[in-house]
């Protein structure tokens, strides 16, 4: 029991006292000579402590052994308990072995006596006892650290639990805390100093003590540990001392703060900040050393750095900065340099606060502008200093990045991490965006930083940065930054352009970019490929060529701008030597789709770029050309596109499209309505579908004449270029490649007339045409809807002998026209303008394709002057001629001199017999047609 009154001292006579000394020293009972029990020995030592002041060191030394014994017995008892089967562990503890019995009691007695002393004279005893107890705890922790069954020194909680369950150590801990709490009001430095010293000695095993004490007296321990560290730092900071000497104590300061930082981070932060701000006031040497000390501290402990950095940066207001500057200006140059280097090193080590730190540094280092609020502007010298720090930081990062062993992939050593860069990695997009603002100086720094960042975290980061820049750059100046970045990185990063492009493509596909961004990205890529003859353009181009199909898909993007940009990109990027057919087809399909779409939205730039692309694709291979032609024709004839070329655009695809209620049951109850009769005899009736009433009038919205012409011209010239003979490009007098023209012809035929039955090239007799009425009508309708067809036929006709392959179309149209003219009851043919025009076109076309001899061809010139039946007669003679002289390609002969096929009609029998009708008609209307008679001379 502790009483408030001092206990009466045991009064011993000098003789008794010397006997006690003897027995204490020898460990035996002076009277009886037997050995003292540990307990009695300890009691004897306590007696001496109270009566013989000079013996206190010896007594404390003896008490050490008492505590050692007590702890050992506790641990061995624990071990033996652990060895027992688990069922018994829940039972009560067995009594301790007799030899150590009562040691716990003695330790309590020791505690009582010592605390009594401390209470009576704290100033004298507390430092002594605290040092003793803390050192003893250190010894105990180290001694038993390696023991089996001991928790690892990292698991603080288990260790703490274990040691606090041991009576002896608990007593020691109580004694120490008692010392500390007694001294806390006056000067706890002595106690804390002992803690630091011991912590240096027994570091990992001793941590539980520090943690416990730190948690009991957080604020005191934090501030005292810091100030003791500072004191020690000051004491050893004379220039003769080497740095390694002061590391131990600093190390233990760091260790202790590290323990406390998890729970008392806030206090630590406040305390350090307080020290920092206090040190800025003009003051003593200790205050001058504060700054280097704090820096050193932070350098030793990353967690401390992380804790403090953010708040520190926040607290650096212009006023504080100028204070700091004034403070630093008094320091010697060498010291200043050291501090600067250390700060830069710390900045490199910053991780959590890195973005904030960077922003702060850049903001401060930026030259003042007019916009800056006058009160917030920093002093010039501060700015210069900051500028210097930024440059040093970049330099240091550069050293670290390029100096890393693994940066070239030569070594397997794990490269040293640079926390600053690690942390900035996540903020790459912000950095890029900031750089693109092109603020002076700042963007250069950021550019350099991004470069380092990219090399540091090589594979993903560099491509990301490049990708971001390509997405965001809006002017050539900004794009130039991306190119520069590539130039910087390309030597260190393999396949950078490749990766960047891959990433961009992935971004586009993932929908991560807005249309605007995607558009910008595509434009930038195209620009890079077009304008950069340097490595970047080439590499990007090569990379792009792997993603042709992906860009091809973009041609179908809903946003026309994106399509166009993709199209331009595709135009500019080099094509690989061989494109897989599937890819090629995808490209062709999408680009032709884009072409027609551009026509729809009247975007001439889109049309031209699409045309360029198609032309490009067409030159890839013959299959490509085929596909292009195919697509173009198919597209041009597609009913949705017919209107583009002056054709009729069907207003609705189906009669029921307008109905909201589409019931399967209802439609089934109407016989025949749901069955597709196309191709059968039922669909012959064009007036409408039975049951649906009359077909609605086709109220097509015709495009303007000019647009139609323009579109037609564009398409034709494109086709023309596509079909151009290889090596002949661009000239006016292009000769078409027969093969290409054949493709065109076949495609046209297939599209205009899907029904291929009975569609051989040879023509049957005219009256057999009745069997193909339906097909002929389809063909007729097709021509009606697509005036373009005639143009196409003309084109084909030029590529002789390709027109032969259109013989079905020609025959079908001719059959319909014959029937029309036969039935026509008009006085003159001009009354049915379309048919007249069609007849003229047809004949001239056939003539152009050398299916008809020139004399026969010329008849179309007088069609408009004739009566319908006369037209029919003339057309019949055409039919007859062709029936006789079938439109076969083999009739054409290649003329190597001119490089074209021609047909020599003179060798095919007498054309005169086909001319008789022409001549008779001529005769009959000689009054009007006499002028023309010269045209029909053989």
């Amino acid at each position: 029991m502790l009483s408030s009154q001092p206990q009466p001292l045991p009064q011993l006579s000098p003789l008794e006292l010397s006997l006690q000394i003897k027995s204490f020293l020898s460990g035996t009972d002076p009277q009886h000579g037997h050995k003292l029990s540990p307990r009695d020995h300890a009691r004897c030592s306590l007696l001496l402590l109270q009566c013989l002041p000079p013996a206190r060191h010896a007594v404390l030394e003896h008490l050490r052994t008492v505590f050692h014994d007590s702890v050992s017995s506790f641990l061995s008892e624990r071990d033996s308990q652990d060895a027992l089967p688990p069922s018994s562990s829940s039972q009560r503890r067995p009594p301790p072995p007799p030899s150590t019995q009562g040691l716990d009691e003695v330790t309590l007695e020791v505690q009582r006596v010592l605390e009594e002393f401390i209470k009576l004279n704290p100033r004298a005893w507390a430092p002594l006892i605290s040092a003793w107890s803390i050192e003893l705890m250190g010894q105990l922790s180290s001694k038993h650290a390696g023991r089996q069954g001991m928790p690892h020194s990292a698991s603080l909680n288990e260790l703490l639990q274990l040691w606090m369950s041991c009576g002896a150590t608990r007593v020691l801990m109580d004694i120490y805390t008692h010392c500390l709490s007694t001294m806390i009001g006056s000067c706890p430095d002595a106690c804390v100093d002992a803690l630091l010293d011991t912590s240096v000695q027994h570091s990992p095993h001793f941590d539980w003590v520090v943690a416990h004490i730190g948690n009991s007296f957080p604020s005191t321990i934090i501030s005292r540990v810091l100030s003791c560290g500072l004191k020690d730092f000051c004491a050893h900071s004379s220039p003769t001392d080497t740095a390694d000497k002061r590391v131990p104590k600093l190390g233990s300061v760091v260790g202790i703060l590290g323990h406390l930082s998890s729970r008392h981070g806030q206090s630590i932060r406040q305390e350090i900040l307080r020290m920092f701000h206090e040190s800025l006031r003009p003051g003593s040497k200790q205050q001058r050393a504060t700054l280097p000390y704090l820096l050193q501290l932070a350098a030793l402990s990353p967690s401390l750095l992380g804790t403090v950095c953010q708040d520190l940066v926040d607290s650096l207001k212009p006023a504080t900065l100028s204070q700091l500057q004034q403070h630093c200006s008094t320091l010697p140059r060498e010291e200043l340099d050291n501090m600067l280097n250390l700060s830069v090193h710390l900045a490199c080590q910053t991780s959590a606060g890195a973005p904030r730190l960077l922003r702060f540094l850049l903001d401060t280092a930026m030259p003042a502008s007019v916009i800056t609020t006058p009160g917030l502007a920093v002093h010039d010298s501060v700015r210069e200093a900051c500028d210097r720090i930024v440059r040093l930081l970049l330099l240091s990062l550069q050293k670290q990045v390029y100096g890393r062993p693994g940066s070239r992939g030569t070594s397997e050593v794990q490269p040293r991490a640079v926390p600053f860069l690690e942390a900035m990695r996540g903020h790459l997009p912000e950095l890029c965006a900031e750089m693109l603002r092109l603020e002076r100086k700042r963007h250069l720094w950021i550019h350099q930083l991004i470069g380092l960042l990219c090399i540091y975290s090589s594979p993903p980061c560099s491509s990301e940065a490049l990708c971001i820049l390509l997405t965001l750059a809006q002017s050539s100046e900004e794009l130039g930054l991306a190119v520069q970045l590539h130039a910087v990185l390309s030597s260190s990063v393999q396949g950078l352009a490749q990766a960047a492009v891959t990433r961009s493509v992935a971004q586009i596909h993932a929908g991560a970019l807005t249309d605007k961004c995607a558009l910008q990205l595509l434009q930038n890529l195209a620009l890079v490929v077009q304008c950069e003859e340097g490595s970047m353009g080439r590499e990007v181009g090569m990379a792009l060529s792997e993603y042709l199909s992906d860009f091809g898909q973009l041609l179908l993007h809903s946003e026309p701008g994106v399509c166009e940009a993709a199209c331009i990109l595709l135009c500019s990027c080099p094509l690989p030597t061989s494109i897989p057919p599937s890819q090629l087809h995808i490209l062709i399909r999408s680009s032709s789709h884009f072409l027609f779409r551009s026509m729809h939205i009247r975007s001439s730039s889109g049309v031209s770029s699409a045309s360029r692309l198609l032309l490009r694709l067409c030159r890839v291979s013959s299959a490509g050309r085929k596909a292009v032609l195919n697509q173009l024709v198919e597209g041009a004839l597609h009913e949705g596109n017919a209107g583009l070329f002056g054709g009729n655009r069907p207003s609705s695809t189906g009669p029921r499209l307008g109905n909201d209620t589409a019931s399967l049951l209802e439609s089934n109850s109407h016989l025949g309505s749901a069955v597709d009769f196309s191709g059968s005899v039922w669909s012959v009736f064009h007036a409408g579908v039975i049951g649906a009433g009359l077909k609605p009038e086709e109220n097509s919205k015709q495009l303007g004449e000019e647009e139609c012409t323009e579109n037609t011209q564009s398409l034709l010239s494109l086709l023309c270029h596509c079909c151009a003979r290889k090596g002949e490009d661009g000239g006016q007098s292009t000769t078409l490649d027969p093969e290409a023209a054949k493709t065109l012809a076949v495609t046209l035929t297939e599209n205009a007339c899907p029904d291929v039955t009975n569609s051989e090239l040879a023509w049957p007799p005219e009256d057999h045409a009745r069997t193909t009425v339906q097909r002929d009508l389809l063909i007729y309708k097709c021509f009606c809807q697509n005036p373009l067809l005639f143009q196409l036929l003309h084109l084909i006709a030029q590529g002789r002998p390709a027109l032969c392959y259109c013989s079905v179309l020609l025959r079908g149209l001719l059959a319909v026209l014959l029937a029309y003219w036969e039935a026509s009851r008009h006085q003159d043919s001009v009354s049915s303008s379309w048919h007249l025009k069609a007849s003229c076109e047809l004949v001239s076309c056939m003539g152009e394709g050398q299916l008809l001899p020139p004399a026969l061809t010329n008849m179309h010139e007088m069609f408009s002057l004739l009566a319908p039946f006369e037209v029919r007669l003339l057309l019949l003679s055409v039919w007859d001629f062709i029936q006789e002289n079938g439109p076969f390609p083999q009739r054409f002969v290649f003329q190597s001199g001119r490089g074209i096929f021609t047909r020599d009609f003179s060798r095919e029998g007498d054309p005169a017999k086909y001319m008789s009708i022409v001549h008779s008609v001529l005769h009959r209307n000689v009054d009007r047609l006499g002028l023309l008679s010269g045209r029909f001379q053989l």
Partner: protein
């Protein structure tokens, strides 16, 4: 010596220490038989340094230190040795060779061990050790003495509560040690700062010692041959001067401490100082009888005028410092005590000086009636006016109420003819120049008090 050393090197530390003591005992005993004053050579001291103070002799050899336990054993051995060696001269020479400061790095160890040895001897009452320590204190520069005093004060007045009683009892066995101890303590706590005020229990003990026997402060003085002069930097022969300083400066020093700490004046301490002051004055009276007996009155001073100078100056500074603090009472008390001490010491022959010197010295002190009286001196007896008592003071000021009829008063006429003294030069004594150089080389009988 070197063969002894070699044999000792093989021993463990403790027995080596024990043995070196044994060898030196034999060595000095034989030396003492040949010569009355043994010559302490370098050899034995080096041996002691190596084996008792554990100072490595060669640079290469590692330092082994006693553990605290071994040290305690060593202390016990030393205590027992001094107890059992009954030849005083051997004890003295061994003690001296053990603990005389050599000015080398072993001195710290030496002082530490001496402190512990003395402290232990106090506890277990080893008189021979204490006597040796008393001699040591006389022979050793004051800086070391102060360290020993500090060690003892720490042990008995600070660390172990209540143990001051043990120290107090020492007076009954070794007053000589106590006298020297008080001198050292007075030198240690010179009241120049707050830390240097004596601890209360120490003060209490000293006051009770002196109050019980004022002779205590004179023991060393009376046991020292008069030829001996106190060299510079050594302790005085008597604690008197130091204690007078305590009494005089105490009121102001405590007031200053109170000002700094803002607490209450420790009344009981002030009471103790009053008591101490009285004992001082009584001690001086005793001195007078002794001097008169020896026919040395007026020829041998206990302290010098030079020693007064720093005291008066310090008092002046303290007064200046505390002046704005309404410390009139304390200043009055301090000046009164000074005046009394001066008057009595002059009257008893402890201080030999001219009043003119005093006047110049005390001129800068604040005004004090008693002091005025003291420095002006008594009116010279006029043979023509037998009605005037010899001790009559002119009424310059109202005489202080406190001491109208001091018991020491009748003694005053004995020393009125001060100018007759050739000892006191007209000019103030040159510092460092002992005042009693005029003294004839007559032997002052060595007269132990017991």
């Amino acid at each position: 010596m070197s063969d002894i050393r070699h044999s000792l090197l093989r021993r463990d530390t403790l027995s080596a220490a024990k043995e070196v003591l044994y060898h030196l005992d034999i060595y000095f005993s034989s030396q003492l038989q040949n010569a009355p004053v043994p010559l302490v050579e370098k050899g034995p001291i080096e041996l002691l340094e190596e084996f008792i103070f554990q100072v490595p002799k060669d640079r290469g050899s590692h330092t082994k230190r006693f553990s605290a336990m071994q040290e305690l054993q060593l202390l016990e051995i030393l205590c027992n040795y001094f107890q059992e060696q009954n030849k005083e001269a051997v004890r003295q020479v061994i003690f001296s060779s053990l603990f005389s400061p050599q000015g080398n790095k072993a001195d710290d160890q030496r002082m530490a061990l001496l402190g512990k040895l003395t402290s232990m001897s106090v506890a277990v009452c080893r008189v021979p050790v204490l006597e040796c320590a008393a001699s040591w204190l006389q022979r050793t520069p004051a800086v070391y003495c102060v360290r020993l005093a500090k060690a003892l004060v720490d042990d008995y007045c600070g660390l172990v509560p209540g143990s001051v009683q043990t120290l107090k009892q020492i007076i009954s066995v070794s007053p000589r040690f106590c006298c020297q101890f008080i001198t050292a303590v007075a030198a240690l706590y010179d009241m120049s700062s707050e830390e240097l005020l004596p601890p209360h229990n120490l003060l209490e003990m000293i006051v009770s010692w002196i109050f019980d026997d004022p002779m205590l402060i004179l023991i060393t003085f009376l046991n020292t041959p008069i030829t001996a002069n106190v060299p510079l930097g050594f302790l005085d022969f008597s604690p008197l001067m130091g204690l007078v300083r305590w009494c005089v400066t105490a009121p102001l020093a405590y007031r200053r401490k109170q000002k700094a700490a803002g607490g209450q004046l420790p009344v009981e301490s002030q009471g103790l100082y009053s008591k101490l002051h009285l004992s001082m004055l009584q001690g001086l009276m005793v001195l007078q009888t002794h001097l008169t007996e020896k026919n040395l009155y007026g020829r041998l001073g206990l302290f010098h005028f030079d020693q007064l100078v720093p005291l008066v100056e310090e008092l002046g500074q303290l007064c200046d410092e505390l002046n704005p603090l309404n410390a009139e009472q304390e200043m009055e008390l301090a000046l009164d005590r000074l005046a009394q001490a001066l008057q009595v010491s002059m009257a008893t022959g402890a201080l030999l000086c001219a009043r003119d010197d005093l006047r110049t010295l005390c001129a800068r002190l604040p005004h004090n009636n008693l002091m005025q009286l003291v420095i002006s001196g008594p009116v010279q007896p006029q043979p023509a006016h037998p009605s005037l008592t010899p001790g009559y003071y002119p009424h310059i000021h109202t005489p202080p109420l406190g001491y109208p009829s001091l018991p020491a008063h009748p003694a005053l006429p004995a020393h009125t003819p001060i100018p007759a003294h050739p000892a006191v030069p007209a000019i103030p004594a040159i510092p460092g120049h002992p005042v009693q150089t005029f003294m004839p080389g007559m032997a002052f009988p060595f007269r132990p008090m017991r």
